[in-house]
């Protein structure tokens, strides 16, 4: 036997009918064209979804190639400055050899990227250039900088360390062991470049290992600064000395997610 009374049944049917009307009013009605008559507050711009940016082996190789072009461009600029004169004439020869090595490295890593189905990348890494190299060159070429030649060597040394660290760092990220070996085969030569340039900047057997500046306490440039290859940021002190003897220090870091050369990145014309 039902427990509903006649009054309760009437009330229940009334509630059901009202709910249906409300839901129907909220929904889109068939055959009715939206005239955008409903006002909104503020602007609602059209959004463009971000391109998928996957860090693949090919992306890491293209990024390595971009750093090779950063190095090539750095040496080209260094030679164009014409600062390697007198005792530093041998540095010009070293710069030419190192630049040739970087061209070979760029060909090698681009070839590996192409084998993976990616496009080769034949220009410098824009972010590395804009964040580090161009500001450094601005300081180096300032009229009041008395150390243009050695500061140029210091920039090359920093770029070589950056390249060596990048190759060392990608070993842990590449998925193919053969590519890891290819990367470190190039990276070890960048480390040799850095060691040779360090000895130009801070020569002598006593300065091969880590030492620090007696005045500032900052670490001096060293050919072999640590037992294991570091992945820490690289400090580059250049430009006109300040009254306290210190100079502007730029901090260089290996390419990260915002500076990798993804598949959709193309060289700027």
């Amino acid at each position: 036997m039902s427990t509903f009374t006649r009054r309760e049944l009437l009330r229940l049917s009334g509630v059901t009918l009202a709910s249906g009307l409300v839901l129907a009013a909220c929904g889109k009605q068939a055959g009715v064209v939206d005239d955008n008559a409903i006002t909104i507050l503020g602007q609602s711009p059209v959004t463009t979804p971000l391109t998928d940016a996957e860090v693949t082996d090919a992306v890491l190789l293209r990024t390595a190639a971009s750093l090779e072009y950063n190095a090539i461009e750095t040496y080209a600029t260094a030679l164009d400055l014409g600062v390697f004169t007198g005792d530093l004439r041998k540095v010009a020869e070293i710069a030419k050899r190192f630049s040739a090595d970087h061209s070979e490295h760029a060909d090698a890593v681009n070839s590996l990227a192409v084998k993976l189905g990616a496009k080769e990348y034949r220009c410098g890494n824009t972010r590395i250039s804009e964040s580090y190299i161009l500001p450094a060159l601005k300081l180096i070429t300032a009229d009041d900088n008395p150390n243009q030649a050695m500061d140029t060597v210091a920039l090359a040394h920093a770029v070589e360390n950056l390249a060596a660290q990048t190759y060392q760092g990608v070993v842990a990220l590449l998925t193919d062991p053969m590519l890891r070996a290819d990367a470190i085969r190039i990276g070890q030569q960048e480390a040799r470049h850095a060691a040779i340039l360090a000895q130009i900047l801070n020569p002598g057997l006593k300065n091969i290992g880590p030492t620090s500046d007696a005045k500032t306490g900052k670490p001096n440039i060293a050919a072999v600064p640590s037992a294991f290859g570091s992945l820490a940021n690289i400090q580059l002190s250049i430009g006109k000395p300040k009254p306290d003897g210190t100079r502007t220090t730029l901090i260089l870091e290996t390419p990260s997610l915002n500076s990798l050369v993804y598949d959709f990145v193309a060289c700027k014309a």
Binding site: V171, R180, R192, G209
Partner: protein
Amino acid sequence: MLSPSDIKLLAFAQTLELTTRDIYAAAVSRRSLSDDESALLEQFHAHHVAYQQALNGLLSKNATNKRDDAIYASFSAKLSEAQNIWIALLEIENIMIASHTKAIETIESAKAAALVASIITVEARHAAILASQTTTNISTALDNNTSALVAS
């Protein structure tokens, strides 16, 4: 957890580092070296001690504590002539770089490969510096013409 293949490769790398450590120890004991030269070689020796220790830590109970006596004997003979010290040490560093790089081609663990890579980049610096003590020819410092030693 290392695979059996990785254990074999890393144990061989440790054997090579133990051998190089002892070769440096033999070189440092030579009286023909200046104080600065001895200090430099002691520093490089300490690095190879650190490398074999790092590999020892990675290998744990699978670690080896034996150098390769044949390689050691071969280089000890080269070190007997004072003028050969730098060239012999350059050669062993280049062999280390070639051998470790060859190992990375097949090491499965990315973590282990990264450790070996961090050793290679500093051994390359050692090689460049050792070369600069023997010649001004930049190619000697940059090029590695040695062959890799592989685990049997």
